[in-house]
Structure formats: C-alpha cells, structure tokens
C-alpha cells in the first residue's frame, strides 16, 4: 500500500467526514439541475448528454456518506425526472435510488474529496445508471430499446469531466460543522 492508497482508502467509517448542507440546497440544486436538463438543450443541443440530476445525486450521496440518505435523494430526484419524461414513474427513480445507495456506500470507504476518484466514480455511476435504466426498460416494461455502449461510454466520460469542477463548486455550499 502506498501513501496515496492510504490517503484514498479510509481506515473505516469512523474517519468518514459527513458533509452538511443547508436544507434549501437540497431543493434548489436538484431543481436547477432538472431545469438545466429541461431548458438548456433547447438552445445548446450538444449539452443534452449532460445528466446533471445524476451528478447531483452522486455528489450528495458521496458527501452525505449515508446510504439511506443517498437512496432517498436518488428516489426523489429520479421521480421528479420521471415526471418530466415520457417514461412511467419509477424508471429513473429506481436507477437513481441504486446510484444514491451505492455511491453513499462507497463513500464510506474512500476519500471522496479526491478529484481523480470523483472523476472515476462519476464515470462509473453514469454507466451504471444507463445500464440499470436499460435493464429496467427491457425487463420491466418490455421496451425494445438499444443500449448504445460506445455512445454511453463517451457520455460517461464527458459527464465525469463536468462532474469534477461541478463538485468543487458544490463543495463551497457545504456548511462547516461547529
């Protein structure tokens, strides 16, 4: 184990630092992310690849370090996203619930303030989200949709690139514990 590994890999949950945010942040940030997804691609078409609500779920889950909180945040954001899509309610909801839960679980073991790890996690969870959605659409709804793997990998990379500075900005919104 190198020193770098030691830094990334936490000794255990006891060392994990739980970040706190103002209650308004839990409403406003997801709302901005969803509005961005609803409004911005209308004018800048190529930005439609950005899955900001997913990045917000990943960020809050990583920083809260509580699987229950991560799952609940994922559920709420996912259901709102479902409401604004043509899919039945629950498709994005279940996918984001799992993302929230697992990202919070991972955050208990790693130093999630490391930018490289944030990049990798964002990349991984985007792919996980896309695959989960595809599995649910085929398995639960019987929809014959295709999983475009090369496109998903490119989108995952681009989302991960955006995630790093976005997480740094959102770090500023954290409330310091007294």
């Amino acid at each position: 184990m190198t020193e770098y590994d030691d830094r990334i890999l936490q000794a255990g949950p006891r060392k994990a630092k739980i970040s706190h945010f103002r209650p308004a942040a839990y409403i406003i940030i997801p709302l901005i992310a969803i509005l961005f997804q609803v409004y911005v691609p209308r004018f800048v078409d190529f930005l439609s690849y950005l899955e900001l609500p997913l990045l917000v779920v990943v960020y809050f889950s990583l920083m809260r370090r509580q699987p229950v909180a991560g799952a609940v945040i994922g559920t709420v954001i996912g259901l709102v996203q479902d409401s604004l899509s043509q899919h039945p309610l629950g498709m994005f909801g279940i996918a984001k619930t799992l993302v929230g839960y697992f990202s919070a679980s991972i955050s208990m073991r790693f130093d999630v303030e490391n930018n490289a790890l944030r990049f990798i996690l964002s990349f991984f969870f985007f792919l996980f989200h896309q695959v989960a959605f595809w599995v649910f659409a085929r398995g639960l709804l019987g929809q014959n949709i295709e999983l475009q793997i090369p496109q998903s990998i490119i989108f995952a990379f681009l989302n991960a690139v955006v995630a790093v500075p976005l997480f740094l900005i959102m770090d500023k919104l954290r409330v310091e514990e007294q």
């Binding site: 209308r42 439609s48 690849y49 899509s85 899919h87 309610l89 619930t97």
Partner: protein, 392 residues
C-alpha cells in the same frame, strides 16, 4: 424483527424504496394509467419556471439592446465602434426576428392550407434524461390538447403528444426510441412502419425485399396509425438495402432536423392525399433553326419548292413520282395506264419548261391525274409561266 430491521437498516430502506417504485411501475403498466398527480405537480412546478426563464431571457436581451447600448451610443469616444457593434448585434437580432417571423408565417400558411384543425404551439423545454428526444410545448389540456395528438410542421411530422397537462404538453419526437408511425412511400406506394432509433435518423420496418424503393424517395404518413393524418410528409429515404427479414430502410425525417421551435398540434385530423411524385421536367427538344440558303442549292430545291407551292408533298416518293410523271408527260405516256411505256432513262425536261400537273393540288394518295393520251413525239402541252423558287 425489530433487531433485524435495525441491523439491516440501510438495506431495508433501499428495498422499501425499490419495492415501492416497482409497485408504482406495476400499477402504471397493469392499469395502463399514469400517476397523474405526481406528474402534474412536477410539470406545474417546472413549466412556469421554464416560462419565467424564457421571459427573463427575452427581457435581458431587450434591456441590453434598449438601454446599455443606448448609453454606449452617447459616448463620443467610442461612438463609431459602438455603432458598429450595435449594428452587428441589431443585425443578428433582426435576423433572428426575421427567422422567427418567417417560421411563424410559414406555419400560419401551412395551417390555413391543411384541412386538419390545428393549434400552434411553441417549445418551452426538453424532456429529462440524457439525449432525450421529447419536448415540452406551451399548449396543454386547457387549450384542448389531448394525449395521442399529432404534432406537425410544414416540413413534416414532428411527433405525438404523450402527455397533456393543463398548461403544457409533452411531445415525443419521431426520432425518439419507441416512437412509431404508419408510412407509405410516394412513388411506389410501399407501406411500412417508421420507427425512431434515438438517433437523428429513423428506420422503416416491415418492407419486403421485393418492394421497390429508391434512395431519395419520399415517405408520407399513411394514416393507418390513427395518429398522423394521411398525406403528411415524413422524410426521404437515405439508405435502402436488402436484409434478412425485409428491406433495411433508413429515413431522414424532414421536420426533426435541428431544434424544433414551433409546431402545430393536430386537434382534429383530416385524412389527406399522397401527392403524386413530381415527374422530371420533360427534356426540351432543341430544334435548330433552318440552315441559311445556299446560292447553288436554290435551283436544286426549286422543283420541290414549286411543288410545295402547288400543294405537293415533299417526300422522296413524291419527288420521284413527280419526276416520272414529267418524264411520261414529255413522252406523251400516261403513267399507270396500259399502253406504251415511257423511257425513264431519259432525263425529264427542265422544271422551268415543265407544266405542272393539272390537279397537282391533290391530296397525298390521290391518283395522278390522267393526261390525254397523245401519240409519241407530239408536242407536250405548253408550259405555264415558270414559278419563282420559294426561298426558305
């Protein structure tokens, strides 16, 4: 039990959330109904914000163009540069306005032209999800929009309404994965089902390999899906090739090429007709002007010209018959009558001295007039006054 739940609290909550959402999904799938309340809340919460953002965007543009730039104009030192910048911005603004006006005008013209009753709608947002191909429009159930209505533009079909809320509706674009439309090709009347792929192009399924289809051929709505009225343009065949289960046809939708800003919601569809394919313009037959008369040839064409003036035909057979008639007449022999034969090896008399046939104005096919039989060597009838050769 309590110990189990507290021990596996995280997992229990996760399972509860997932099972809850699975039940929600199962209810929607089984009852074929939407959980309207949740959607209504979300859409009602988001669409006014989207409208607000749109309003702020327009207002900000107006503020900058109407106030900031006006102040800059008053600055003497920067006047020329500012004026230039202002003109450029104004030009961009007017170009955008003109484009909007053109689109609106085209939409109005199209609306008045089509028999279906339609409602103009404006896009105010897009659906959620990466690379989503659904859009929100500013017309909802309060305006009479219902689920399943078609959305069209003058360029072709855009999609269909998949959800109608009081103040907004969700339109699934034809390029979205899972969207379908019944189509028919314009030229060969090949029927098929247009399917969105989640890419800019669509495919047409259920086209037999035996069906004739060409790249560039237009597809129109067939009306078979009961959503899109028959006769609306869909797109052009981009690629066609034979496949295992049928032809593989890729169609480039004509209306969903870039970002769709405005559209018409078909409130009451009327089936139209598939327009006939435009036949290529008939090739212009180029006929050169007549060649200029050549001095030496004037005399050569004189007999035929004389004959033409007399109403004779100008075919080679006519000319030959006229020649033999003149030879026969010069020898006092009537062509075609029993009796002595004329010596056709002798040259006919020159046309100037030739008497035209008495009934040379006879129609083609009429029998050659019978000349009075005269003995050999008698003088032919006096030649009439020679005719001037007709110049072309």
């Amino acid at each position: 039990m309590e110990t189990f739940l507290s021990r596996y609290r995280n997992l229990s909550v996760l399972l509860a959330l997932i099972v809850g959402q699975l039940l929600l999904l199962a209810y929607q799938v089984k009852a074929r109904e939407d959980v309207r309340l949740i959607r209504l809340w979300a859409v009602t919460a988001v669409t006014p914000l989207a409208r607000g953002i749109e309003w702020v965007r327009g207002g900000t543009g107006g503020f900058f163009s109407g106030y900031i730039f006006l102040r800059d104009v008053q600055s003497e030192n920067m006047r020329l540069r500012q004026e230039l910048g202002q003109m450029k911005l104004r030009n961009q603004f007017l170009t955008a306005e003109l484009s909007t006006a053109d689109r609106a005008k085209a939409l109005l013209e199209f609306r008045s032209r089509i028999p279906s009753k339609t409602l103009p709608a404006r896009v105010i947002g897009t659906g959620t999800g990466a690379n989503s191909r659904v859009v929100f429009v500013d017309r909802g159930s309060n305006d009479g929009v219902k689920r399943g209505m078609a959305a069209i533009t003058p360029e072709g079909i855009v999609g269909k309404v998949v959800a109608a809320y009081p103040m907004a509706s969700l339109v699934q674009l034809i390029t979205e994965q899972g969207s379908v439309a019944g189509v028919i090709s314009q030229k060969n009347h090949v029927r098929g089902t247009l399917k969105g792929q989640g890419t800019p192009n669509c495919i047409v399924d259920y086209v037999q390999n035996e069906d004739k289809l060409e790249p560039g051929e237009w597809f129109y709505t067939s009306g078979a899906d009961r959503i899109y009225p028959r006769g609306l343009p869909v797109g052009q065949v981009k690629m066609v090739r034979e496949g295992r289960g049928g032809k593989e046809v890729v169609v480039a939708p004509s209306a969903v090429t870039g970002s769709v800003e405005e559209m018409l919601i078909v409130i009451d569809g009327v089936q139209g007709l598939i327009p006939e394919p435009e036949t290529p313009a008939s090739p212009q037959i180029s006929i050169l002007p007549p060649p200029p008369p050549i001095a030496g040839e004037e005399q050569r064409v004189a007999p035929s010209a004389a004959g033409e003036a007399a109403g004779a035909n100008q075919t080679d057979a006519d000319k030959l018959r006229e020649k033999y008639r003149r030879i026969g007449e010069s020898q006092g022999v009537e062509i075609g009558s029993p009796g002595p034969l004329a010596d056709f090896n002798r040259n006919p008399p020159p046309p100037s001295a030739q008497q035209p046939a008495p009934n040379s104005t006879a129609q083609p096919g009429a029998q050659t007039p019978v000349a009075p039989r005269t003995p050999q060597g008698t003088q032919p009838p006096s030649a009439p006054k020679p005719q001037e050769p007709r110049k072309q």
